[in-house]
């Protein structure tokens, strides 16, 4: 369905950052960060709010320039690999009165960037349209949304909306899927099922998955490795290597304790209050979305 140049399929890593630092609005968000996502791997970027995780994603997508360091996606600069990346930005749930069907939303994942009158005039155009409709149906089934893809997206639950959005990101058969906090507005059962879905997509479709999360617990057992960001720096390795009291204390620069509950969940204790940082994600928001009312 997509024309991926030979070089992207031959690249050994899905995404790679070396010694990267980014400066936003005069402040350095992070410096000297290294990250490697191998082909077909499931990687998470963790850390407290305001650590710069979203900024990191946008740098990988080529939406932000690096102050220093290098970033490649599938062996090429991010802008050139754009067609092979599926991106799911962080967003609020769709407004409940949104009158667009899920299937149309997924469809826009294929042809949303196509200029021109949306009428298939030639036989070839009609053929392509049929193939695309087939792909849309296929990917909706992959995420398990066939039952509700024809309903208004505003009426669906958070988990259902998320699945459709994942379908939209998948529809052009990307080689790298980047998701920004896909689980944060979901309840626990949905977090578990979406995490499992992502792992399945990773394995069966051969897609590399890089996601941002602030809680590693729903993803335990699925992750290949993690990058933990805090205090403008990052450290990477497997979950067991990184999410330890020693490693995190070193990263934060203050004593951190990692506890394991009886059912295997990890709890991080002692994180300093994350600086309230107006990162790139917020630059289009109304100033009041984040201010607190102090009486």
């Amino acid at each position: 369905m997509t024309t991926t140049e030979p070089s992207t399929t031959e690249a050994t890593t899905a995404a790679e950052l070396t010694n990267a630092s980014v400066r936003l609005g005069g402040k350095r968000v992070f410096s000297d960060v290294g990250l490697t996502v191998g082909r077909g791997q499931f990687v998470a970027v963790l850390g407290p709010n305001g650590a710069g995780k979203s900024t990191l994603m946008r740098a990988i997508l080529g939406l932000l320039p690096l102050e220093s360091g290098e970033v490649t996606v599938l062996g090429r600069p991010p802008a050139q690999a754009r067609a092979a990346i599926g991106y799911l930005p962080q967003r609020h749930a769709f407004d409940s009165s949104t009158r667009i069907r899920g299937i149309d939303l997924v469809r826009l994942g294929i042809d949303g960037t196509r200029w021109g009158v949306p009428v298939a005039l030639t036989g070839a155009a009609r053929e392509r349209r049929r193939a695309e409709s087939g792909r849309v149906g296929e990917v909706i089934e992959t995420v398990g949304a066939t039952g509700y893809a024809h309903r208004a997206i505003g009426e669906l639950s958070g988990g259902e909306q998320q699945r459709l959005l994942i379908a939209q990101a998948l529809v052009r058969s990307p080689q790298l899927l980047i998701l920004d906090e896909p689980l944060d507005s979901l309840d626990l059962p949905n977090q578990a099922s979406v995490a499992a879905l992502l792992r399945r997509i990773c394995s069966s479709e051969g897609v590399s998955v890089l996601l941002v999360a602030h809680d590693a617990n729903p993803l335990l057992g699925y992750l290949d490795h993690v990058i933990y960001m805090a205090g403008g720096r990052a450290t990477s390795g497997s979950v067991d290597e990184v999410i330890t009291s020693a490693k995190l204390s070193e990263l934060y620069g203050t004593p951190i304790e990692v506890l394991r509950t009886a059912d295997g969940r990890l709890v991080v204790v002692g994180q300093p209050e994350a600086p309230h940082y107006h990162g790139a994600r917020h630059e289009h928001d109304h100033p009041h979305d984040h201010d607190h009312v102090h009486d």
């Binding site: 100033p287 009041h288 201010d291 009312v293």
Partner: protein, 271 residues
């Protein structure tokens, strides 16, 4: 200037109308209800025309229709806030009725409406009677007091509806009550600034205040201050320049205030 009765009346009414608009407007902007406010101001015009057709004092029509529509909006929406599209469709329809009523008025014995319609649309603050201006001042004061009394619950339900409902704040009632206050201030201010320009007094000072500070008490005070300043400035300016209508002057100053505040806030952010 103040030797003249009509000027004193204008300042009396204008000051408290501006106060009311500034205070209510600050919340209207916060709650994202400017479109509803826009609709209410246009509805006010239709109310005035309707009253004229029936032969009543236009103020009756102003208040009755705006309160009725405000109630409707409150009832239709969740948390007392209605959908933009519903508001738009309803108020287009009401304006259509206004057109009908204008035509009826033109042919009725109460006719001769060119001037009256202009006054309702664009305000006639210099033709207020002493009694009228005192009433306007009183209403402005009462509305401001009403908002200030309900300040904390209103803030809470606007900014954090979940917490508000947990604490037992009646969101819907407050929402409807707020819309009612908006309706009242709208109806009253129509006489001063006119139905079409009223939105400016609600939006511009409040918008400016929101640009400059996120703190509620300061914001409210700032909004009221800017509104009153615009009112005084506009009145003074239009007194000096005969060709300048007072409402245009007032809104012009308020708008300039908003632009200045936006530019200032933007410069401050980029420092």
């Amino acid at each position: 200037m103040f030797a003249h009765d009509f000027v004193r009346n204008a300042y009396l009414a204008g000051t408290f109308i501006a106060l009311g608009c500034g205070v209510v407007g600050w919340f209207v902007v916060l709650r994202g209800q400017l479109f509803a406010g826009d609709a209410l101001t246009h509805v006010a015009f239709v109310g005035a025309v309707a009253a004229a057709v029936v032969g009543l004092d236009e103020r009756v029509g102003l208040f009755v229709l705006t309160l009725a529509v405000a109630g409707g909006m409150g009832a239709l929406g969740r948390r007392g806030q209605a959908d933009d599209i519903v508001i738009g469709t309803v108020f287009a329809w009401i304006l259509g009725i206004g057109v009908l009523l204008l035509a009826v008025l033109a042919t009725s014995p109460n006719g001769g409406t060119g001037i009256a319609a202009a006054n309702t649309l664009f305000g006639s603050i210099y033709s207020l009677t002493p009694g009228g201006s005192r009433l306007a001042a009183a209403i402005g004061l009462v509305v401001s007091a009403g908002v200030l009394l309900a300040l904390r619950p209103l803030l809470l339900t606007t900014l954090d509806s979940e917490l508000a409902s947990v604490r037992g704040v009646p969101a819907r009632a407050l929402g409807v009550g707020f819309l009612a206050l908006l309706a009242v201030v709208t109806a009253e201010s129509t006489q001063a600034v006119g139905a079409l320009l009223l939105l400016g007094l609600l939006a511009a000072p409040a918008g400016a205040a929101h640009q400059l500070t996120a703190r509620p008490y300061r914001g409210l005070a700032l909004s009221a201050l800017i509104a009153v300043t615009a009112m005084w400035g506009g009145l003074a300016l239009s007194y000096e320049i005969a060709a300048l209508p007072p409402s245009s002057a007032i809104i012009g100053i308020a708008g300039a205030g908003y632009v200045a505040a936006t530019l200032f806030a933007r410069a401050r952010r980029h420092r």
